[in-house]
Amino acid sequence: MSVQNKIELRNVKKAFGEKKVLDGVSLSVERGKSLVIIGGSGTGKSVTLKCILGLLKPDSGSILIDGMETSKLGGSERDHLMKKFGMLFQGGALFDSLPIWQNVAFGLIHGKRRAKDEARAIAIEKLKAVGLGENVANLYPAELSGGMQKRVSLARAIATGPEIIFFDEPTTGLDPIMADVINELIVNCVKDLGATALTITHDMASARKIADHVAMIHQGKIIWAGAVTDLDKSGNPYVEQFIHGRAHGPITDQAA
């Protein structure tokens, strides 16, 4: 049965004015698996993610979550669906007017209506899970380094125990060591929660570490998808150029 797939996209299209950003994206993520979408800047990775999250409405095509069509949901049904999701934003997107623990507990307090004390306890536990002590709980996001903000953001994404977690360029802007720390945290958190994960990145080290499956997007289409172990024997010249980071190849030839 196709309900085996936690997330499924069928021929999703999205254009901004004249510009076709998604030109028929189809992909699926199995329950409890981690899919990483790779691709260059401006190929439609972020738009794909935002369409699944419902932050953007696709022009056509269908997006199924647990086998249910979601691309046309609105209002309270959309709010309800959102409770299944957790998201780690590229820039962290922490609420700078709130202290760290309230950031982490935000979804618990406002989304799930938990009591404040209880939410605080869970927040501190989640902060510990990402390697941060109780001492940061009362600080504000601006007082933390980029790497620590990313960790807090990760703690916030997993705090409500989501079934699906999205990661938008989780390692961008971090040093290689911190990037690896974040990768490990992602792998562990996803495993602990038994969640399904969808990541977009152009960092190949990160992709190899956190992916079960990889899909490559190019010019608004998925041009290759397979297990991460098959990545090096894809036989696809686009994938080859991308994973080896070559300046010359079919991707750049096409652009020129």
Partner: protein
């Protein structure tokens, strides 16, 4: 002759087409913007009226928009009242009509100057800060983050500001009324040599409920406009620092112009 006119037509028609397209295009754009703004306003009002309510946020906005605007509005009203007394004295003394100064001051302040000037000052102070704050939240994806955490940004961010703007500006204007009249009183009694009793008597004689009430209703409308413009432009802010800067400018400019337009329309409704 026929040849000449066809030459003129053939060179003129494309130009005419361009002009029509330009005019039509911008009219469509303006209509689209008005439509989007109206939908945004209706949605915001809906979220003000329906639960859940974020009481702490509403209180916080009451403080930010209301209380912290008091100095600015108070100073504006004080000096406006003072200069009104001074200016009307130089005019009225030519006709031996000094006794009209009190009525000019109190009517101008309560009906027009206090609501309009407070509205414009608050547009600069509060409208700009709302647009900048919400615009920055848009640019740094904090608004998207709210959505993914199952909290409606319109309910959490926009509704408290709209409510606070609409309720706080009348209070500010009421305080401004008192301070403005007091400013006129100070100048009249200390600089122009009026007797304090006479001045107050003349003020009370001419003042009617509708003068103050119309000013307060105007203030509520202006407060709504300021908060709406700040929220709308911030919420739809473009990318980066430039986008936020543009949103802030647009919020203040559109709010100021709408305040002046609605001031005229409301005055017409109340006093004609």
């Amino acid at each position: 002759m026929k040849f000449a006119s066809s030459v003129i037509m053939s060179s003129f028609m494309p130009l005419l087409g361009d002009v029509c397209q330009g005019v039509g295009g911008s009219i469509l754009q303006i209509m689209g913007a008005i439509g989007r703004l109206t939908l945004f306003a209706l949605e915001a009002v809906f979220h003000v009226l329906t639960p859940p309510y974020f009481f702490r946020h509403v209180l916080r906005q009451f403080l930010d928009i209301g209380f912290y605007s008091l100095p600015v509005v108070g100073m504006t009203a004080l000096f406006t009242g003072m200069v009104l007394a001074l200016q009307s004295y130089t005019g009225f003394s030519r006709f031996n009509a000094e006794s009209a100064i009190a009525s000019v001051v109190v009517l101008s302040i309560t009906r027009e100057l206090s609501p309009v000037l407070a509205g414009l000052m608050v547009a600069g102070r509060v409208g700009a800060s709302i647009a900048a704050e919400i615009g920055t939240m848009r640019v740094t994806e904090q608004i998207d983050a709210l959505t993914t955490l199952s909290v409606n940004p319109l309910k959490y961010l926009i509704a408290p500001r709209m409510l606070a703007g609409t309720l706080m500006l009348p209070i500010l204007v009421f305080v401004g009324d008192i301070i403005g009249v007091y400013g006129g009183y100070i100048v009249s009694t200390h600089v122009l040599g009026f007797s304090s009793g006479n001045y107050l008597h003349q003020t009370w004689d001419v003042l009617e409920n509708i003068d103050v009430a119309s000013g307060l209703i105007k203030a509520a409308a202006f407060g709504f406009i300021v908060a709406l413009m700040g929220c709308y432009h911030g919420y739809n802010s473009g990318r980066g620092a430039q986008g936020v800067g543009m949103a802030t400018t647009n919020a203040v400019v559109t709010a100021s112009i709408l305040i002046l337009i609605f001031n005229y329309l409301l005055t017409q409704v109340f006093f004609s």
